[in-house]
Symmetry: C2
Subunit: 202 residues, 2 copies
């Protein structure tokens, strides 16, 4: 059985303001105060892991070690089996320093030339680490296929080329609520809260 | 149509004596003299690519640039779809500095706990680069499944946990000739020679 979060402040191991705001909203019903690793001036560790789990764990452990507080980190990406799993843990890095996901999507299109299998899936792994080194990880996936050209302006990253199974609109076209209902982040988050958090009464 | 190798000396971009000997044997019928990057004192480039193709290309380009001669490099690994493609391009690195593939195989077993899908495949990509920057790449794959515990003492790397499709013996158990007949390296090599080399008459 997973360890429960005892309350108090949780460090979100991200320097991304969007991710912080999302986590803050999601954790509010559980009476959790959040602070970002960026606000605490914590350094960003190098993502030397070779799996999503390893990268989420190293980010959470670095943040809990540096702050003395429990810390939550995520690692996520797009896995294309026909590309041996690429971009995978490199999904953000394919966009380069300038975070140009147009470039990253063009590279997926280029690498898939001549390959018929267009299946793909998004993965999100959340890792919750405690100062004593205990760690819990949770994984969410959403399966679909890669489509070109990119469609829609919502979401971010590879969303415009991701067509979820059973839908006719990409993650770039779907309304936010519809996308969130099936997203890999939501699935991972639901598992995290079921295992580690208790809802607070108002 | 692929560019042909015009004859003369080819640099094999490896510091591994076993790989060099294998290439030397394979290329002898084509009248190719080979020299290793190690023997020329060329530095080993960092494998910063995010795909097998990218790593093979950067190794071949580094060797041709440093030597002024055409250069052949390979990149290979084991892809496990249930692990999002891991260890993939990290296959050698999972074995650590001490090249302990017992450790690497144990890690595959650990990561696969609770996952039913045991399909996997070996990939080999060969890249042949010329001093003017022209480059050709060739890919071989062999599909099968991961089995535990490891079986057999032949081959190297992940061979003892790789059961090829349609066989009852792992790559660690099969006789060398039988393994070579279906191996990912053989498939990649056959494509390379068909595209770029002409057999020499005795």
């Amino acid at each position: 059985m997973a360890r429960h979060f005892a309350g108090g402040t949780l460090v979100i191991a991200t320097h991304n303001r969007g991710k912080l705001a999302e986590m803050e909203d999601l954790l509010r019903p559980y009476g959790v105060k959040v602070v970002s690793a960026g606000a605490l001036g914590l350094p960003e560790p190098e993502e030397t892991g070779t799996t999503f789990e390893a990268n989420a764990e190293l980010k959470a452990l670095a943040a809990t070690k540096a702050s003395g507080l429990p810390a939550l980190a995520d690692d996520s990406g797009l896995v294309v089996p026909a590309l041996d799993g690429a971009p995978g843990i490199y999904s953000a890095r394919w966009a380069g320093e300038s975070k140009d996901f147009g470039l990253a999507m063009a590279r997926v299109e280029h690498e898939l030339k001549g390959k018929r299998d267009r299946r793909c899936y998004f993965v999100a792994v959340l890792a919750l680490a405690w100062p004593d080194g205990h760690i819990e990880t949770f994984r969410g996936e959403v399966h679909g296929s890669v489509v070109f050209p990119p469609r829609g302006t919502r979401g971010f990253g590879y969303d415009p080329i991701f067509l979820p199974e059973g839908k006719s609109e990409t993650f770039g076209e779907l309304a936010s609520e519809e996308r969130m209902a099936v997203s890999h982040r939501t699935v991972a988050f639901q598992q995290l809260v079921e295992a580690c958090f208790r809802p607070q009464r108002a």
